[in-house]
Amino acid sequence: MDLTLKIWRQKNASDKGKMVDYKVTNISEHMSFLEMMDVLNEQLVNSGDEPVAFDHDCREGICGMCSMYINGEAHGPDRGVTTCQLHMRMFKDGDTITIEPFRAAAFPVIKDLVVDRSAFDRIQQAGGYISVNTSGNTQDANSIPISKHAADEAMDAATCIGCGACVASCKNSSAMLFVGAKVSQYALLPQGQVEATDRVQNMVAQMDLEGFGNCTNTGACEIECPKGISLENIARMNRELMKASF
């Protein structure tokens, strides 16, 4: 298929940036979106132009590196997938595709479609862990009984890959689905209880400090999340913060 691409080009963090049009031809519908971007970049390199910078790593929907706001949606029009898992069969021959970086004040653009998502790392560092002594006296994993329901919910929350699609999709650039998932995966398990109070308070404080917006419960994050992280995690984070504060 032949496509017109409207892509955000920005030389560096301080450059103003603009949308630039490109044509790509003979794109197979079996290609992933990133493979289509590879074709474009090969074309650009061959013609002596600067290739489009974009984030990617595993290309199998696990690492959370690929981003891109495609035709007005994070990771494009498909559901439950990252951009690397988005196939070109979702588009039609002759389509014009708009490709922008994830937009949030807390995710500044580094170059083209690459944004700095280290705000997520700092939120994690503020409390997204448990402090355990693993030096030779690790407990057996099954020594603490955990209900199947709690284990499943914790595991569902832990599938968050921290890609930032929730922030990109939210009209307020809120990070609450991400932080909610990270708080929940520990709040649901006995191992997370020891530091529960500090964890939620510190992670929410760091989230606010980074300049993310508030949650207005539009639910866009849940729909666009490639891992289907539930809004229930935001409600749980709210409960955890109330429990920790009063």
Partner: protein, 225 residues
């Protein structure tokens, strides 16, 4: 506790608490107004009680005013904060793909409701305050009978005002269709109760504004005849 209410989540909780209070107020306001359709005398008696009872006038009324002002001011503060969280807008954004119009436009339905409240204050609240607190007339009487029903009828003669009221209640319904469940979500309502809350929310959001619309139309057409 002060740290909590300074946090993003704390502010949303404060927003939700004021919303609960306002939704409860709306329910009692409706319960009293609907009396006007069935019995002018009962409506007059209840209105007189609400308008002259010291607990309602000097305790609940200031709390209500605070609740209304707080909900609007906090709404605007949160809107400004949220807007600043995305300093560069998307060239193409497909919001309808993942969220409802109501959820994305709470500020605009809110502004429409604010405009209505100003009209409503000019219509009813300011004259009421003037009669009671400036003129010092707490009798509630006019022409030998309680005045409230007659005042209500007079206001709904104008088709323009009735039209404005109907439009405002449509915006109120849109605001509530997202706001009702959103308030519970902000308070951390669990997923198990979500479906029930959504159904109660839908019923409340449609029936209460519709009821107010029916009251306005009833008095408009009844008075013309």
């Amino acid at each position: 506790m002060s740290r909590f209410f300074k946090s993003s989540i704390g502010r949303k909780v404060a927003m939700a608490l004021s919303a609960f209070f306002l939704m409860f107020f709306l329910l009692q306001h409706f319960a009293i107004n609907i009396l006007s359709v069935f019995s002018a005398d009962t409506f007059n008696e209840v209105s007189h009680f609400m308008g002259t009872n010291p607990l309602i006038q000097f305790v609940l009324q200031p709390v209500l005013i605070f609740g209304v002002v707080f909900h609007f001011v906090m709404g605007f503060i949160l809107e400004l904060k949220n807007r600043s969280a995305r300093n560069i807008a998307y060239v193409k954004n497909n919001g309808s793909a993942n969220s409802s119009w109501m959820s994305r436009n709470m500020i605009w339905s809110g502004v429409a409701i604010l405009a209505f409240i100003i009209l409503h204050f000019i219509d009813f609240w300011f004259p009421e305050i003037n009669t009671k607190f400036i003129e010092g007339d707490w009798s509630g009487m006019h022409g030998g009978e309680l005045r409230y029903f007659h005042e209500l009828q007079e206001k709904f003669v104008s088709p323009i005002r009735v039209g404005a009221y109907v439009l405002a209640f449509v915006f109120l319904a849109l605001h509530l269709l997202h706001g009702f469940t959103s308030a519970f979500q902000s308070m951390g309502a669990t997923a198990g109760r979500k479906k029930t809350l959504q159904n109660i929310g839908k019923a409340y959001s449609i029936l209460i504004p519709l009821g107010f619309i029916i009251i306005a139309l009833y008095h408009h057409f009844n008075h013309i005849h």
